[in-house]
Symmetry: C2
Subunit: 337 residues, 2 copies
Amino acid sequence: MKRKGQTWEFTSRPVILGSAAVVGPDEGKGPLSPDFDYIYDNLEINEKTWEKAERRLLEQASQLAIIKSELTKEQLQFFVGGDLMNQIISSTFAARKLGVPYLGVFGACSTSMESLALAALLVDTGAADYVMAGTVSHNCTAEKQFRYPTEYGSQKPPTAQYTVTGAGCGVLGRSGTGPRVTRATIGKIMDLGIKDPFNMGGAMAPAAADTLRSHFRDTGLTPGYYDLIVTGDLASVGLPITKELLHNEGLNMEETVFDDCGLLIYDREKQKYVNAGGSGCGCSAAVTYSHIMKRMIKGELKKVLVVATGALLSPLSYQQGESIPCIAHAVALEMEG
Amino acid sequence: MKRKGQTWEFTSRPVILGSAAVVGPDEGKGPLSPDFDYIYDNLEINEKTWEKAERRLLEQASQLAIIKSELTKEQLQFFVGGDLMNQIISSTFAARKLGVPYLGVFGACSTSMESLALAALLVDTGAADYVMAGTVSHNCTAEKQFRYPTEYGSQKPPTAQYTVTGAGCGVLGRSGTGPRVTRATIGKIMDLGIKDPFNMGGAMAPAAADTLRSHFRDTGLTPGYYDLIVTGDLASVGLPITKELLHNEGLNMEETVFDDCGLLIYDREKQKYVNAGGSGCGCSAAVTYSHIMKRMIKGELKKVLVVATGALLSPLSYQQGESIPCIAHAVALEMEG
């Protein structure tokens, strides 16, 4: 472990031994469909409440990730997890089922990389041999909690994002084969005063830009070092703003492929109801722990930076007229050889 | 850093360079009154909403902790914080004001020690030079969110606990004088099926017992090693249950002083409205970062184990008939010499 600024360099380069993503029907209709481990054909995920549905996605993704890493849950020392629900109940109930020591974290959609950064830190520093990181979101639990009762069918502006129904988990260990976690940059809160919860991408763009700027400042790398830099989830509104913000500071994102998990997961031409694209901490987790992992293992990608962004509002803070504090955490993944 | 089981031993023994606690009027009337850094005489904390009041407590405690550690906020590398609010907005807004990289955590009332354990891990492993851990709760935000509108004045059974209005923060560094963080045991979820949110102490007792048992198993220590073992917050119902559970497994808590932050913070004879005692992640934080720190610095206590317990329910999980998953994280503090 070496630190510079707000970036950790993991000298032992912890390995993602196994990972899994379990998603709902909308994600199953998107272009990443072949990469997911399991796709439910119903949004209820065969459960009676949206909350039970969400929990089941995480429980299943965690079980699959453990199996795919050829471990048993008894070998896992810690589970670092979180979700968007009040009091992160989905992760907690999944941790109850797992029965391993549990560190609950919250950073809205950035939770996916906050948990992976911490899991890598634990393994890198000898605080654990095996750790699982995982997050989940469900379209209907998020709609119900953050917006309107799901029965309303309320309309949305085109800047709105569509919460992904999906979970992603990764199991980290010290040695083995697979993508390695090489660095993590922990973000600061950025809040430029945006108050519109239907424009999360715009609100989160400055946080993504700040974390990317910090990452390149701390590491001395340039965007071209990575084959892919993927945010999660700025969608169609936030991604170009971030690109412009970085361009204004002399960081040329044309050097790399700069994309967004919220844009990758859906076909916005066919799935018009997703508006600007996907969101939710299940989005970046499901994309990272399936599509990106598979592309890295196949050798299509060698160096990837995942920058998960979170809009840290609550319905109450919004109702009380507060602006939306945002954050982004970046994690670098590299294949050796 | 050495790990055994679910316990971390911090070989560099990070120092709590400075700490502070800011509380409301009820806590100011309790027996620990002389130890707090600032006491508000009004539950509104001079703010217009309960949420702004809660945030102000944390902002103020964090500023005081930084000043008392003789640092500036620019020297802090990370803030690890959390609270009981949906989407931990109090910590997030405080982190926005601080402007330092932020790791949001959630473990209900156990957040106080989850954040301290992670902060100590960061300093011990070189992931940071200076880190602040802090948590907050407010009686009225908690009542409003978890129970009834505060205007109702609803009555409660004697097993109920009273959420503390208070914040506590500690700044950790690698060298200096002050209590040192020597060990941390990360807990597992325990859920024995209790569904009554007015009996949190009873629900959390098995989690406290499990973490204490794990701590002594992993470290080879016995309860008598510590001058004080303090839970936070089992109150009058949970503490004797925990004692009995441990006794049944051969751990004699009579070897030490075994107390609870929720019992220490109020005078239950005079303040009958607190029922079984205090709760909330501000309770164990305010007691630890004021009273316990001061007693350690004075030399009255040399070795203290703080076991923060969390009831990880949400109003929704309760309404849907779920039982209450609980967790406890333990952190050992030691004075040298």
